[in-house]
């Protein structure tokens, strides 16, 4: 008897040992930086040339400076517009594709091939993808040349000089990169739905629309919320695509500067105080928005 209990507790010890790597990595790379970001946000701490200024404790001054300037709200607006503009087509297309893929009555051929193909854009690095679009949509780039030779336009359209066009390009890239990933996630959720439910609905005479909204969507809700919140967090941290597409300038007229691009601007002078304040602000905004999304989606229950 005694031997058995001791072997159980010994097994427990193995469990703890196996957890060490995660916790040490988490502490070093996530927890300490998180705490030090909050700590740093209360200090004036930057570099002027090679001269270090600070760190001097300034209390909430960084937050006051950050939130009283109109820029941060503009950048937050830019970020949300570009996220929503990419997310809506992404979720619509992903739902449609996942629904088709998971519907056995359609008997789609080459599913495996298409699942791979739609995931492909996500495998390309965002920066490479962005460079590609930069070249494609340049003033004298291939897209303009095609449009010119088809006589759709009479002189090159400057995509990067139009607020709408450059934002749409960023939305399009985010959509292309992520719809495959979302499709796979939703598909996994849909395949988990018991097919007897569908059969029962069909026997009761429900049509395809009814089945989708009355059976698929309610059961899919947990996965749907997960997709929505992860996409929201990713969207708020949007950086690489607009940064590369606009060469870090967020042109035209600052309309594609996202919050994290603004963070990068602060970091050119190693301004850890303002950078920290901005990061904490984003942390809070992300938390609030995630809660809102979560509440809205579960309120209908």
């Amino acid at each position: 008897m005694t031997k058995k209990t001791s072997s159980v507790s010994r097994c427990d010890r193995w469990g703890y040992i196996f957890l060490i790597p995660f916790f040490s990595v988490y502490t070093i790379f996530s927890f300490i930086p998180l705490v030090s970001t909050i700590y740093n946000s209360f200090f004036e701490n930057y570099r002027s040339g090679l001269k270090q200024i600070g760190p001097n404790f300034v209390g909430l001054e960084n937050y006051v400076k950050l939130l009283s300037a109109p820029e941060i709200w503009k950048y937050l607006g830019n970020t949300l517009i570009m996220w929503i503009g990419g997310f809506i087509p992404q979720i619509v297309v992903a739902l449609l594709l996942a629904y088709w893929f998971s519907d056995p009555s359609l008997r789609l051929k080459g599913q495996r091939f298409f699942k791979t193909v739609i995931y492909m854009p996500n495998l390309i690095m965002a920066s490479a993808f962005s460079m590609l679009f930069f070249a494609l949509f340049a003033d004298a780039g291939p897209v303009n040349q095609i449009l010119l030779s088809l006589h759709i336009i009479s002189e090159p359209f400057k995509f990067m000089n139009s607020v709408a066009a450059s934002r749409i390009l960023i939305m399009l890239m985010n959509f292309l990169m992520w719809f495959g990933n979302t499709t796979i996630l939703l598909l996994a959720g849909m395949l988990g739905i018991d097919s007897s439910l569908y059969e029962a609905a069909e026997v009761d005479g429900a049509n395809a629309t009814q089945i989708f909204f009355r059976i698929t969507m309610p059961i899919l809700r947990p996965i749907f919320i997960y997709v929505l919140i992860t996409s929201l967090i990713g969207g708020l941290q949007m950086y690489d695509v607009p940064q590369i597409l606009t060469n870090g300038k967020g042109t035209p007229a600052g309309s594609t500067i996202t919050v994290i691009m603004n963070l990068n601007q602060y970091l050119t002078s190693k301004n850890f105080g303002m950078g920290g304040a901005l990061s904490v602000f984003m942390f809070i905004v992300t938390g609030i928005l995630s809660l809102v999304v979560f509440r809205i989606n579960s309120a209908k229950e």
């Binding site: 010994r10 193995w14 040992i17 196996f18 060490i20 790597p21 040490s24 990595v25 930057y46 570099r47 002027s48 040339g49 090679l50 001269k51 200024i53 300037a69 820029e71 070249a135 340049a138 003033d139 004298a140 780039g141 400057k158 000089n161 607020v163 060469n247 870090g248 300038k249 042109t251 035209p252 007229a253 600052g254 603004n262 601007q265 602060y266 050119t268 002078s269 301004n271 303002m274």
Partner: protein, 472 residues
């Protein structure tokens, strides 16, 4: 039992892998010190054999670390510094000293970020890891020369007499606030207006530089000629960004006053207004400098009349090795244009704490003061070197000609330009402010802001985000 053993094995493996980061670091440091030791030993044996090294470096460090952002200075050393041997892409040898190149591209400020970290860690770095020599550009030279991280050149044995033939402005750039010279350069970068001879013949009836200059002798003439070029289907310059350096170099005010307040010179506002006019009248496009669209004018199909640039642009950037380019066929000509300016240039600074002061001093002397070597650089690389005597001799030399410029000898023009350059207005903030100003005003010129004031607000926002200690 077996499971226990397996568990123990796996968990030790995991813990070991977590700890291995520290282990590998320790072993790598011993690794480098070992190689440094052997290279030093190897150096001693070869020392007597090679008499190439001009200075006695036996008392100095065995590794010379050089920070740069491109290959230009390296290729100059390989070609012109006596006794430099190339070992591989990032290392070389001068006598028994190993030369290590730490090359980081300029993009996104990466070069300066790395250089800053290395310089700030200079005191605690191992002797062979210390930076000995680094390169800077005029836009941010003050950031380094006005600190104790750079050494006065006189401390390295470079005397005022050695530098007597250098152009004054090249010394002003690297002179600190106490009047001490902290660096030196082998090149001068006076700029000229480089025009397409074929278009000049078609539109102005002559491709002779003197005749063409008459059409571009000031900004009013420039704009009139731009209209003529437009009627013939050509752009006067590729982009509004082309003329920026010309206006900026002729500004009377520094970017920042003594109270760290940003100030914008009238001449820069004139650039904005003139450029807006150029773009709105269809005299030029709004491409980003160095973009593919911008360089299309290097070929006849690009229909661009001119570019503004110094010697290195002509020789280095205008696709002279590509068949079908204007430069390849010697189709360019050079004139002074509406105003003189400079663009670019690289300065050599010695890092405080170097253990190779003698060698660094010798490199400075040979590369930036020795007339023989500097003449070689002109003849081989068409660079404009920082030596008045050499340049004036070549300017009057009938046999010297530039193939890209259709056999024209542009040196007289460059010489005249180099004497006129005034560099008293540099500040440590120039680079960032230049970029932010061009970016904000570019948006106004392209029509994304309705007024200069709006663009100015954007400039101030960008500038104070970048430099928290500035006000406006």
């Amino acid at each position: 039992m077996r499971r226990k053993v397996l568990g123990l094995l796996l968990s030790t493996a995991m813990v070991a892998s977590v700890l291995s980061a520290c282990g590998s670091k320790a072993s790598s440091t011993t690794g480098t010190s070992a190689t440094a030791g052997t290279s030093a030993a190897a150096g001693e044996t070869s020392d007597e054999g090679s008499a190439a090294a001009a200075v006695d470096t036996s008392a100095e460090g065995k590794v010379l670390n050089i920070c740069a952002w491109n290959e230009e200075f390296k290729s100059r050393l390989i070609d012109h510094y006596p006794g430099y041997e190339e070992v591989d892409g990032t290392t070389g040898k001068i006598g028994d000293v190993t030369v290590k190149w730490l090359i980081t591209p300029n993009q996104e400020n990466a070069y300066q970020n790395r250089l800053d970290e290395l310089l700030l860690a200079q005191d605690s770095a191992a002797t062979d890891e210390k930076i000995d020599l680094f390169l800077v550009e005029a836009d941010y030279a003050v950031k380094y020369t006005d600190t104790d991280y750079t050494l006065p050149v006189t401390d390295l044995g470079v005397t005022a007499d050695d530098m007597k033939d250098q152009y004054k402005y090249t010394q002003d750039v690297v002179t600190d606030s106490n009047g001490v010279i902290k660096g030196t350069s082998w090149q001068g970068c006076p700029g000229v207006m480089i025009y397409d001879r074929a278009i000049a013949k078609e539109v102005f009836g002559s491709d002779d530089p003197e005749e063409v200059q008459k059409n571009f002798s000031d900004w009013n003439k420039f704009n009139e000629s731009a209209a003529k070029l437009k009627d013939a289907g050509y752009h006067v310059v590729s982009s509004h960004e082309d003329t920026f350096r010309v206006y900026q170099n002729n500004a009377a005010l520094p970017w920042v006053d003594e109270n760290n307040k940003i100030q914008v010179d009238e001449n820069l506002i004139k650039w904005v207004e003139d450029s807006k006019n150029l773009v709105d009248s269809g005299y030029c496009d709004t491409y980003a400098q160095w973009s593919d669209d911008w360089t299309k004018g290097f070929y006849p199909e690009g229909k661009v009349f001119s570019y503004f640039g110094p010697a290195w642009l002509i020789d280095f950037s205008m696709a002279k090795d590509t068949e079908g380019s204007i430069a390849h066929d010697g189709g360019w000509g050079a004139i002074e244009g509406p105003q003189g300016f400079y663009w670019g240039g690289t300065w050599i600074c010695a890092a405080a704490g170097t253990d190779n002061a003698g060698l660094v001093g010798d490199i400075m002397k040979k590369m930036t003061c020795d007339p023989e070597i500097m003449k070689d650089i002109v003849l081989k690389d068409n660079d404009f070197v920082n030596n008045r005597a050499v340049m004036e001799e070549l300017a009057n030399d009938e046999s010297y000609s530039n193939e890209v410029l259709g056999g024209q000898n542009p040196l007289k023009m460059f010489c005249a330009g180099a004497d006129k350059i005034d560099m008293a207005n540099l500040t440590a903030y120039d680079q960032g402010l230049l970029q932010d100003f061009q970016s904000a005003m570019g948006d106004y010129i392209k029509g994304n802001y309705s007024s200069i004031d709006e663009a100015m607000d954007q400039f101030h926002t960008l500038a104070t985000t970048r430099y928290p200690d500035l006000t406006y």
